[in-house]
Amino acid sequence: MNELTSIGLILLLALMAGHLVKAFKVPEVSGYILVGVALGPSVLGWLSHDNLIALGVLSEVALGLILFSVGSVFEFSLFRRIGRQVLIITLVESSLAAVLVAGGALFFGQSWSVALLLGGIAMATAPASTLMVIRECDSAGPLTDNLLGIIAVNNLLCLSVFGMLVAAIDLTTGVEGLTQGEMVYRSVYWFVWETVGSAALGFLVGLLLAGWSPHVTEEGEMLILLAGSILFCVGVSRAIGLSPLVTSLAVGATMVNMTHRSLHLFGALSNTDPPFYAIFFVIAGAELDVSRVPAMGAVGVVYILGRAGGKFLGASIAANRLRLEPAVRQFLGFALQAQAGLAVGLTLSVSTRYPAMAPVISTVVLASVVVFEMIGPASARFALVRAGEAGLAAKAAARL
């Protein structure tokens, strides 16, 4: 199938599936993912691996747009209000998930490095599907605010921890042809470059966007500016080894603090980006390899239980300690379950860096991502609806 046909098919089938699953009170995102799974190489095979690679560009643009939106949570006044608690909750839920998963993996006979890497990857919560559920539910309120903050901070934290883990493993095992000094330098350099460097690039692009936007009045032109900035930002990040994720997040954070037109801009974006997101989630679904699920083994089960339990307990403990609203205490854990692109990306990076560990980590993470990507959006929707925040965004000022 050529690319245009597959894009058309993806969009039409995604729309259909989105409508269909709504009847079962399941988020549209899950419908898109299911369509992807069905069309993908592991089931029907209508979308080949070549198609997926070709469509990967659209997927990256979509992820850039999503993180750009998520970045708006760093709006100064909002973050001053909830920043401290968001940081604490993220730290607790991520750490607990990491510790449970790593401990379980060790218990089931995995090496220290494999256990630690699995723990690090388990920290990630998918920003895309979570944000899509928030939008779909049109939700607003303390749970929504905290959730947005947490997924933004969580991804930064996860990238940082993973960077540190990789640096530590490299330092203990050594890389051929490098002295100890060079090793330390490399490890520290890449860690700092991916975080601080990405933030710096994001800030500069955000500044450009903010400086230019007052001179752009038409909504169409606004979209051109926005799309141009995001594409440029993602492209440059890839070219110079930065993290497109952090960069996009930083663009969004800079924008929202620099100009009052940001709300207008985000509004314009949310009117036009749904096709991108549909493609993004169908591709994400098509890349899921359902056949891996039965092969995940005991470590896979430990990973799923440890991560789900860690996130749930951690969020609950932290929210109780901070005496947050009852809705947050009860349901935050449910909303943090989704896991997708970031975990897959980190797994690929493990595969290229440490081929010896690749089989275990790939099998476990890629299999459990299938599970979390299926239940995550539904679980998040359940949390938002039960917390009573669904549909409140229309009444409050639209934040996204």
Partner: protein
């Protein structure tokens, strides 16, 4: 940007810092370590995959040759009596390797895909490396071989195809070269390949990978060789010549006398027996090289071309010959070949004795000597000199020395007796 002046300062500082971070960070990149692209698939699995891929191409190759052999087998028949194959040469003609117990004019049963069919032997001679058979009607279910237009390049794939019963068998190898050689007494061009040829393959064909015929497997004495298509054609056309027919019919090679021979034998008209194949009609009738023949037709002796024509006449069986050997003259009846009937009754003891080789073995022929010029070769056995059989080597020497300017030597070479005129250099 709509920001208060104090914020502008922060923004300026941040912008400056960000630019510095990006530029500085880019310049401080650690050197790239060449890293072998590590496959996500484990090494062992990749090896297995590669092995499986190679295995698949080998299987595909075997499959290809099996199909080529299957197509080529449509041009092959099997002779249960001789346990060998035959190639369909024309609409009705089949060529094969000579087999024991077959006589000219007799019929052989051949197994074809359409069932059994009876074929008459048309070309068969003690001197020939091949036999030809003909059917009375078209050969059902068979198609003639398609000869290759040129020899393949060295190293090209070839496949030998023969039949074992009704089933085609094949063996693939590579072509090496074409080489001139002698098969029995016949000069041929051999197709040399990497294949290990066995007697079971005789009568089968060697084909290119496209199914074009390169040659036929035949027995050349003890060994099995492939003789090329041109050689087969040459042998077939030579077998149709007068000489060839005479050899097939009586196992005799007859010629007119040369000047030197006429002087030696003191006769000019007779047909000189130059070659007699052992076990053939001529040999059984008692003819020997050096005999001078004329044919008795209607009570009158005829010689020369007329004698040859009389010998080859279809209704002449037996033919009455007037034979002069030395000074004696006799009349014998010669009937056409019972052909290769060399069946030796085994004695009651169950032991077959090796026949004593007649005459005296010739170990060396000096180059440019009288014997060399006459065509005597090392390995030949000298049977008689001027029709006299020597009883000792001394006698041989005496006979040769006392022979005068010319001597007629009777020589045994393999399965035939030859006569040569030894002339002292004038």
């Amino acid at each position: 940007m709509t920001a208060p002046p104090s914020r502008t300062r922060y923004v300026t500082i941040l912008t400056f810092a960000s630019t510095l971070i990006l530029v500085g960070g880019w310049l401080m990149r650690p050197r790239v370590v060449p890293r072998h692209p590590a496959p996500i698939v484990p090494e062992t699995e990749l090896e297995q995959l590669a092995r499986r891929r190679e295995r698949r191409s080998l299987d595909a190759m075997a499959q290809y040759f099996a199909e080529t052999a299957g197509e080529a087998a449509a041009s092959l028949v099997f002779f249960p009596a001789g346990q060998r194959s035959g190639l369909v040469w024309g609409d009705r003609q089949i060529v094969s390797s000579p087999m024991a117990g077959a006589a000219a004019g007799t019929s052989l049963v051949a197994a074809t895909p359409a069932g059994e069919t009876s074929l008459g032997l048309t070309v068969l001679g003690p001197h020939l490396p091949i036999v030809a058979l003909e059917s009375t009607g078209p050969l059902a279910g068979l198609s003639p071989v398609r000869p290759a237009e040129a020899a393949p390049d060295a190293g090209a794939w070839v496949v030998a195809v023969w039949r074992v019963g009704a089933e085609p068998a094949f063996m693939a190898g590579t072509f090496l070269q074409s080489a001139t050689a002698t098969c029995g007494v016949t000069p041929v061009v051999e197709v040399v390949s990497s294949l290990a040829l066995t007697a079971a393959m005789t009568g089968g064909g060697l084909f290119t990978a496209d199914g074009d015929l390169l040659g036929m497997m035949v027995s050349c004495g003890e060994r099995t060789a492939v003789i090329d298509v041109a050689s087969i054609r040459r042998v077939l056309s030579a077998a149709r010549s007068a000489d060839g027919r005479l050899l097939q019919r009586y196992g005799l090679r007859l010629t007119a006398l040369s000047a030197a021979e006429a002087q030696h034998f003191a006769e000019e008209t007779g047909l000189l027996v130059r070659e007699v194949w052992l076990g053939t009609a001529g040999s059984l009738a008692g003819l020997r090289p050096g005999d001078l023949l004329s044919v008795v037709v209607d009570g009158a002796a005829v010689a020369g071309e007329a004698a040859l024509a009389a010998l080859m006449a279809a209704n002449a069986d037996p033919v009455t010959l007037s034979v002069r050997r030395g000074s004696t003259r006799s009349t014998i009846a010669l009937s056409a070949a019972p052909g290769g009937a060399t069946g030796a009754a085994s004695p009651a003891s169950g032991v077959v004795f090796e026949q004593a080789a007649p005459g005296y073995g010739i170990a060396v022929v000096q180059p440019d000597s009288a014997a060399d010029r006459a065509g005597v070769r090392a390995g030949d056995r000298l049977v008689s000199i001027n029709q006299l059989q020597p009883r000792s080597v001394d006698q041989v020497r005496r006979l040769l020395d006392g022979a005068g300017p010319s001597a007629w030597l009777e020589i045994q070479r393999g399965e035939r007796r030859l006569g040569v005129l030894l002339e002292a250099r004038p």
